[in-house]
Amino acid sequence: MDLKYIVLMIAIGVTMVLALVRALLGPTVFDRILAVNMFSTKTVVLIAALGFMTDRPDFLDLALLYALVNFMGTVAVLKFVRYGSFDQATANWENEG
């Protein structure tokens, strides 16, 4: 395996571990959210890189899917943290927006 791939893998790996540590330790909610978000971004990168390395274009579909779904997940988490409900604060939000 090419050296650059190894470096790439290690780099992504270290980043993921760091993100994981942050997610585990907290301490605030936002630390965790950010860590998870980062972790998932790195997963996207990792999958894309793996696809590139192994010459499997289907992995790109996977990466794309992650990217899309993660956005939805993050919005959901943020809304939960901010309002404690998926629906309750909508009215205010509508008015303010």
Partner: protein, 141 residues
């Protein structure tokens, strides 16, 4: 709370793309990873995102509870209907090659798989949307 505008703009931009991607997964399942189930999940995610951003009431205008119920049933019925269709066409249940004229079993397979995946997609979309709506509605009280 002006900064919500970011979320809204991006969502507006992303949701059509998610739908498109879902359709891609639905119909490209023959060639790459994915299929009806995954497509349904992505559809439902898109709808969930819409609900998160614009609220349940607007989402329910598009997807009325009654409609969701019918869609849930429709998906299963499409799947089963395909199976029964094969049966009435002279084959066994879900024997897709019976759907087309003899001699082209592969076309039959293709057609049948496409149909059942479509059924799966509809059911999964509707069920997940329905569950999500039920949760959100319940949280309202």
């Amino acid at each position: 709370m002006k900064h919500h505008i970011i979320v809204r703009v991006i969502s507006k931009f992303l949701i059509p793309f998610m739908f498109l991607f879902a359709l891609y997964v639905q119909f490209h399942g023959d060639f790459g990873p994915g299929g009806g189930f995954q497509a349904g999940v992505i559809f439902a995610s898109a709808i969930a995102l819409y609900t998160l951003v614009w609220g349940l009431d607007r989402a329910e205008q598009a997807f009325k509870p009654r409609l969701i119920e019918i869609l849930i049933a429709t998906g299963v019925m499409i799947y089963g209907g395909t199976g029964l269709l094969c049966l009435f066409a002279g084959g066994h249940l879900l024997e897709y090659r019976a759907l087309v004229e003899p001699g082209h079993p592969q076309h039959g397979e293709h057609l049948g798989i496409g149909l059942v995946e479509f059924g799966v997609g509809i059911t999964v979309t509707a069920v997940l949307t329905g569950i999500f709506f039920a949760f959100v509605r319940r949280g309202r009280t």
